[in-house]
């Protein structure tokens, strides 16, 4: 009896083996083994910051591209790209500067008083679909943390004191997930700058100066003083709002002291040597 079972199962097994072998030959899909190698070298965050669907997509793009122009993993940075170039034997595009997410709102609880109460779902997109927000500023941060939820690297947190998100320079990979998550387009990817030194306008309010100021003490009122001060033409004034172009900015710091509302932020600079009279107020805020 046992013999019958062994023989019949053996025959079934043999037939299946032949069938599977034939199928695997017939339907074989060739994958470049380098794709796997490149993927191992990548951070594996699948954040999509490179513009491809996940790390596997980026690895395939690297292998298939001839020159690797425009292919850059912002998460891994130049180190990762050099590893990839070693694997593939191609010149990697390592020229890209380190970038960083910057939160352009300084409407702290103190500076931006609440004029109504929102008790709907604690979600920025929902609040934004419904109305302008709890404060008089219809451009500023809601503070419900859609960006925090979106971040895959724990690089952005809401500061409970100010109610605003803060970016951790170390963790931020400039993948841009928070930029997409923010319904107000407050977060911008900007140049990290030498020694993390950056200057930017921390406001996106496009209302007229009076309205903006009434809603928030730290708002940019579009007075244009900074634009006049800038020797490099890096500051443009549009829709009652100043914007510093980081590609032109030389970090001379002349714009920040002239801002009457302290909307221009400078980070990681050494303290100023000579403090001018109008600058005293601003440095307190910064």
């Amino acid at each position: 009896m046992i013999l019958i079972a062994v023989i019949s199962l053996g025959v079934i097994g043999a037939i299946s083996a032949i069938f599977l072998y034939a199928a695997s030959k017939k339907f074989e899909v060739y994958e470049d083994p380098r794709i796997g190698l490149v993927q191992e070298a990548l951070p594996g965050a699948n954040c999509g910051a490179c513009g491809y669907p996940g790390c596997a997509g980026f690895a395939a793009a690297c292998v298939n591209s001839n020159t690797m122009d425009g292919l850059f993993c912002p998460v891994g940075g130049a180190d990762t790209m050099s590893k990839v170039s070693v694997i593939l034997g191609k010149e990697a595009d390592g020229s890209a500067e380190p970038m960083l997410a910057v939160v352009r709102c300084n409407g702290t609880c103190k500076a931006r008083p609440k004029i109504n109460r929102y008790d709907g779902a604690r979600n920025c997109s929902i609040a934004s679909a419904l109305y302008a927000g709890e404060t008089g500023c219809s451009y500023g941060c809601f503070g419900f943390g859609d960006c925090v939820t979106a971040c895959a690297f724990d690089a952005i947190r809401i500061n409970p004191e100010t109610g605003l998100p803060e970016v951790n320079d170390e963790n931020c990979t400039s993948c841009g997930l928070c930029v997409k998550a923010c319904p107000r387009n407050i977060i911008e990817i900007r140049r990290k700058g030498p020694k993390s030194r950056r200057i930017y306008v921390s406001c996106v309010n496009m209302d007229k100066g009076g309205t903006a100021r009434k809603a928030c003490d730290n708002a940019c009122i579009g007075c244009g003083k900074c634009a006049k001060e800038c020797a490099f033409g890096a500051i443009t004034l549009e829709y009652n709002l100043a914007y510093i172009d980081y590609t032109k900015c030389r970090l001379c710091r002349k714009c920040a002291p002239v801002c009457p509302t302290g909307a221009i932020h400078e980070t990681n600079f050494p303290p100023r040597k000579e403090i001018k009279a109008p600058a005293t107020n601003d440095t307190n805020k910064i």
């Binding site: 008790d119 779902a121 997109s125 109305y131 209302d207």
Partner: protein
């Protein structure tokens, strides 16, 4: 058995506090703020400049594109400025500020009270006059009326449906209008019937307005083809698709327009505005607004010029009660909480509701207990709880497959939820997102 729609629905406390109140003309304000985007579609483009003298009925802004509407001055005076103003959502949009001086009307407007019934006009003439007067749907959505009257190619209207359900709790503006301006409304319906070339008009009125039903039935006897249909009191009876189902027993397919089942739906207030526009050449410069609330001294129905700040309406109704927690523009179910009282009345403002603190506050949301009450009450037959989960986790494919775009944002699901989950909030957001995705896919 009274007619009604068959899927879902709720019956919140009616609270029609201002029912039976006569329509009173509100005093002219010192300044009006007339926004350029009072309707669905493109904002109108300004035709006046700062310092211009205007009369009541002067064209201020011209319709900009196909889906848009003209805007006329509701007062006489001088243009103070063209600047941004906050609208009901709290966002600022361009508006015209006019300082009021006297009350001088344009000569072309017939201000007499005489009722005009018959005036032979072609459908095109009627529609042109409606478009000139800047009439929009007065039920709340403010969709330009003339656009609705042109059927898309290969579609025929067979029936005109007049929405007088007024299913939102608290609101009574349509009720008051029917009681006082019934004959004008009938004449307006007649005009809409000839504009859409239909022989039948059905007026749907919920049976909590017995006096209005009797009054309108009496008046309808004189007109051929107009019929008043009492409806069961059930929210959202006044939803376009719900009303069509209740009255002609046909369901509008997902993603289709009411015209696909041969129906054109207009609000009863719109019918009155159409009468005034066509017969009296009076543009849409004023409307009936209910000001109400449990602690309001005098809940009233006011005839208000467009652009009057809401603060003035509240004052006329006896002032802001001390315990007010929320000021809502519209009804309690679909209205919007206002961020201030200096927001102007626009064409779509049907009511101002002052909710006391204890009613206004939401209870904290708890976990879903899978009771499926939201599915039971959803008038569109979709699954709010599953859609909320899909939206919460940005699963847009699932949201689209489960017809999130069918949501009419009526708020029934959030109203019934025993766990106080903000279902409508999530669905509204998800619907916008999915619509954006569909749009970008087409482009």
């Amino acid at each position: 058995m009274l007619k009604t729609f068959h899927i879902g629905g709720i019956h919140p406390p009616e609270n029609k506090l201002s029912a039976g109140q006569k329509i009173t003309q509100l005093n002219l304000p010192k300044q009006v703020i007339i926004p350029l985007a009072q309707h669905i579609g493109a904002p109108a483009s300004v035709t006046v400049r700062k310092g211009d003298e205007v009369k009541v009925g002067t064209l201020l802004a011209k319709a900009n594109g196909y889906v848009s509407a003209n805007i006329h001055s509701s007062v006489s005076g001088k243009i103070n400025k063209v600047d941004s103003a906050f609208d009901t959502s709290g966002y600022s949009h361009t508006a015209i500020y006019i300082d009021v001086e006297g009350d001088v009307w344009e000569d072309y407007i017939d201000r007499s009270d005489t009722l005009i019934k018959d005036k032979l006009m072609t459908p095109q003439q009627i529609i042109d006059k409606i478009a000139d007067a800047g009439i929009v749907g007065l039920g709340g959505a403010a969709f330009p009326t003339h656009v609705k009257l042109y059927p898309p190619p290969e579609c025929w209207a067979t029936v005109l449906i007049i929405n007088a359900a007024e299913c939102e709790p608290y609101l009574t503006s349509d009720h008051a209008l029917m009681m006082e301006k019934g004959e004008e409304i009938m004449s307006g319906i007649n005009l809409l019937m000839s504009a859409t070339r239909v022989g039948e008009a059905l007026i749907g009125i919920e049976n909590n307005k017995q006096d209005a039903i009797r009054h309108m039935q009496q008046l309808a006897k004189e007109y051929r083809g107009i019929k008043v249909v009492p409806l069961k009191t059930k929210y959202p009876q006044g939803g376009e698709k719900q009303l069509i189902e209740a009255l002609i027993h046909r369901q509008v397919k997902s993603g289709e327009l009411p015209i696909s089942v041969g129906a054109v739906v207009q609000n009863v207030g719109t019918a009155f505005a159409v009468y005034e526009a066509v017969m009296k050449r009076k543009p849409l410069i004023e409307r009936v607004v209910t000001v109400t609330g449990k602690d309001v001294a005098r809940p009233s129905n006011f005839l208000v010029r467009i652009g009057t700040p809401i603060s003035q309406l509240i004052e006329a109704a006896g002032g802001l009660p001390a315990n007010t927690g929320k000021i809502v523009s519209g009804g309690p179910m679909m209205g919007r909480g206002l961020t201030g009282t200096e927001i102007p009345v626009v064409k779509g403002t049907s009511g101002v509701l002052l909710l006391p603190e204890k009613d206004a506050k939401r209870k904290p949301a708890r976990d879903c207990i899978r009771c499926a009450k939201c599915i039971d009450v959803c008038p569109m037959g979709i699954n709010p709880t599953a859609l909320m989960t899909a939206t919460e986790f940005s699963n847009w494919e699932a949201a689209e497959q489960n017809h999130i775009t069918d949501c009419i944002e009526c708020g029934s699901c959030a109203y019934i939820c025993p766990a106080n989950r903000p279902l409508t909030d999530y669905l509204r957001m998800g619907k916008r997102k999915v619509m954006g995705i569909i749009k970008s896919r087409k482009a």
